[in-house]
Amino acid sequence: MKKVSVLALVGALFAFSGLGRAAVSIGAQAPDFSLPSASGKTVHLGAYKGKLVVLEWTNADCPFVHKHYDSGNMQKLQKEYTSKGVVWLTISSSAKGKEGYFAGAKEAAKFIKDRNAAMTALLLDPKGVVGKKYGAKTTPHMFILAKDGTLAYAGAIDDKPSTDAADIAGAHNYVAAALDELLAGKPVSVPETRSYGCSVKY
């Protein structure tokens, strides 16, 4: 019917115009989501309300992710803060056929095992819906949610944008600093930084 097709056209035009798309700002409520994880279960963000949550965007083959995983830096952070009650969710938003795509839970579980990673869960977002909701641009891109579910930190993992693992030792780690401040009940002194890394392969 003509009316239906016109309505569909208008709807499509509005969708195309992207009126509804925006990244999350600091202090705003972080969008809720449910994603399948490497363990086979579905993980729901809302279940972690009342805890600090770290969202880490990753791409297994990106040189910047290699910098932090091959050196053990990322695993160290994951171990340290999950033991303090922080929930660490690693997310892959790589689309099918692109670098860093996990074909299924088994491949994702292999990633965890090979790297001896200690995140709470590795989530698969191949359609990129959650990545685009949060405005994840790079791998790695770090987000920290406060206990009330608002966004407390968004941006880079540290202040030395490079692929060289030797830079980690002398770099200031924004995530560790923000988590320490939040765990002590203090406000985050640097809530927003510009992230660095490979582009997320939507």
């Binding site: 944008p161 930084t193 939507y202």
Partner: protein, 640 residues
């Protein structure tokens, strides 16, 4: 080694040719292996391994160096097809190429100079800036007058990230040796340097600096921004108010008012039967009106978004936009004066009429659609004008503006259905409607005058004159179409006249636009004066204990010119500057100098104007975008 092999091979060859061939091949293979191993263990200076997708070397603009002269060299990255490296601001992802020199004493390196990069977009709305095929990053080196050696050896470490679908980090140690010469002689690479110089220091199309460098903190909103946000809301409220009033006024137009009167009777009858039913019908009718406007808004937003991918949004802030709008609004005003008519194709009107005949709510909705479309000949001038000004705004603002117009247009129908007896208030249609329409034309003409004033201020009196000539020709075209292509003429004559008129309009645009836009910018009125800004200049002046006032502006920025001619040039402010010894520095962002862009984003701004005052002691003060003499004097007083 080879000769020995040959001898032995030769001795064998006579008896066993196949053995000789095999030996020869083996010798070659071993030889190449040895060479390859040699390359791997001892990389040749300036050449990274072939598998890295990009190869770096250092090249010079001149064949040698001349003591006392500036020597320009460049890092050249030769990349495999489809692979790109990054600009100094890589964009949403990536890593800028770095170059660190190891120089002998007497040679100093200046900052890296980057040609204009390309824009790379990827899925997820990610934008990066960089170079494909060959990237050339220039470095000026100052060689001291008393540099005595005959040979200059430059060593540098380069790092980069080269990407296609995946990214590979790369690094190389590059080296270049140059001989001392008496004069600058262009090298074989001089052409490459000349090409790069054409766009040196230019930002990519549609560049929006983010509030900080990768890995660095993003500048949080400074004090003035909350005021800016409320200013933004006030501006939006003002626009929506105007749009609503415009929509209301449209009801008095000759295309709309008769329909309104007819509908009024219909609604009154419905309301008398059942008030709720009458309200529902009016609601459905209004919904039809809103729907038409939202379709239009969606089309415009889609055009805008597709244009933004090409980089239009940015271009529209230039004098070209003002010129275009002046032409469009002039043509619309002529339509209101009655010089020519806009008409809808018959087929569209017929099909919509059918939609309106259905009964009940669906019928009312259809009637709303029909009414809006029939009103196009009258509403087009105002919608077009509003659209022109709102085009630069976000999709949300555009939709809100259109909704406000729709609300104004539909309001009388809602009132008619809600308030019993209100139909008596309706003005009776008559000749006065045409006079009203013509009077509206003068409003639009006033807008054209304002736009010409803006153009003159930005591009000069000559540009303004040429723009007026173009407007004159447009008026002529409108007259031709109106008088010779009316509905009373034959279809073929209409076609010819319109084709000719469009050709005339096109030709005059092609002839006159370059004259308007190419004209040199208005000579700087000796108002603000001021030296050129640089971070070093600021540091130097502050070290001398002098207060500094920095004016960040650009040639196409009219708010800037307003502030310069109105406030900064005023006698009160000039006197205050003189008595306090304030030094005025000007940062000209017309060509988007990256150093100035960085300074803007460091203070949380993404554009000009921006005004900074550095008092003799203490932190810099950021002033608002619109200056008044009183404000500037207050800042000067309180900060010292």
């Amino acid at each position: 080694m080879e000769s020995r092999r040959k001898v032995s091979a030769g001795a064998v060859s006579a008896d066993h040719p196949e053995v000789f061939r095999t030996l020869w091949r083996r010798a070659l293979a071993v030889g190449f292996l040895a060479l390859g191993a040699g390359f791997a263990v001892f990389p040749m200076p300036g050449r990274a391994t072939e598998l890295s997708r990009a190869r770096a070397d250092l090249i010079s603009e001149t064949q040698g160096f001349v003591p006392g002269h500036t020597l320009t060299v460049a890092l050249r990255l030769t990349q495999d097809p489809g692979w790109h490296t990054y600009w100094q601001d890589p964009g949403d992802a990536g890593l800028a190429t770095t170059l660190d020199f190891e120089l002998p004493s007497g040679v100093q390196a200046g900052p890296l100079e980057w040609p204009k990069p390309r824009v790379f977009k990827s899925e997820g709305d990610l934008t990066c800036y960089g170079y494909e095929d060959t990237a050339l990053i220039l470095v000026p080196l100052v060689v001291a007058q008393d540099f005595s050696a005959d040979k200059l050896t430059l060593k540098a470490k380069a790092t980069w990230l080269v990407c296609k679908d995946v990214c590979l980090p790369g690094k190389a140690e590059v080296q270049l040796s140059l001989a001392r010469m008496a004069a600058d002689v262009p090298s074989e690479y001089a052409q490459l340097f000349a090409q790069a110089r054409k766009t040196l220091g230019q930002a990519p199309d549609g560049y929006r600096p983010q509030g900080g460098a990768p890995g660095a903190a993003v500048a949080q909103a400074p004090e003035s921004v909350p005021r800016g946000a409320s200013e933004g809301y006030a501006h939006l409220a003002w626009m929506l108010c105007l749009a609503f009033l415009g929509g209301l006024a449209l009801n008095l137009m000759p295309c709309v008012l008769p329909v309104l009167s007819l509908k009024a009777l219909g609604f009154v009858q419905q309301s008398q039967q059942s008030r709720r039913h009458g309200l529902a019908l009016a609601g459905a009718f209004s919904a039809g009106v809103f729907f038409s406007f939202w379709v239009l808004a969606a089309i415009v937003v889609a055009i805008k978004r597709s244009g933004q991918a090409v980089g239009w949004g940015f271009q529209f802030q230039q004098p070209a936009f003002v010129l275009f709008m002046a032409g469009v609004i002039l043509v619309f005003s002529l339509n209101l004066f009655g010089l020519f008519e806009i008409w809808l194709p018959q087929s569209a009107m017929q099909s919509l009429d059918k939609a309106g005949r259905r009964r009940g709510l669906a019928g009312a909705f259809g009637q709303g659609l029909v009414m809006t479309l029939l009103a196009t000949p009258c509403t087009a001038p105002f919608l077009g004008t509003a659209l022109g000004f709102a085009f630069a705004e976000s999709g949300l603002v555009l939709t809100a503006t259109f909704t406000a117009v729709a609300l104004g247009l539909a309001l009388p129908y809602l009132i008619l259905a809600l308030v019993p007896g209100s139909h008596a208030w309706l003005p009776k249609p008559g000749a006065w409607m045409l006079r009203f329409k013509e009077a509206m034309g003068f409003l639009l003409l006033a807008t054209v005058v304002w736009l010409l004033w803006l153009l003159g201020g930005a591009a000069g009196v000559d540009a303004q004159a040429w723009a007026s000539v173009w407007l004159l020709l447009l008026a002529l075209v409108a007259w031709l179409v109106g008088r010779f292509a009316g509905l009373d003429r034959s279809a073929s004559q209409r076609r010819w006249v319109i084709a000719g008129a469009l050709a005339l309009a096109g030709a005059s645009s092609v002839w006159l636009w370059p004259k308007v836009l190419g004209a040199p910018a208005a000579p700087e009125v000796a108002s603000a004066g001021g030296q050129a800004w640089s971070p070093e200049a600021v540091d130097r002046l502050r070290a001398e204990g002098k207060p500094v006032f920095v004016d960040f502006s650009a040639q196409w920025c009219w708010t800037c010119k307003l502030n310069e001619k109105g406030t900064l040039a005023s006698s009160a402010v000039q006197e205050a500057f003189r008595s306090k010894g304030v030094v005025l520095l000007k940062a000209d962002w017309t060509r988007q100098d990256p150093a100035i862009t960085a300074a803007l984003s460091a203070h949380g701004r993404s554009g000009v104007p921006m005004y900074l005052y550095y008092p003799p002691h203490g932190e810099a003060v950021l002033l608002p975008e619109l200056l008044t003499p009183a404000l500037v004097l207050k800042v000067l007083e309180s900060a010292s």
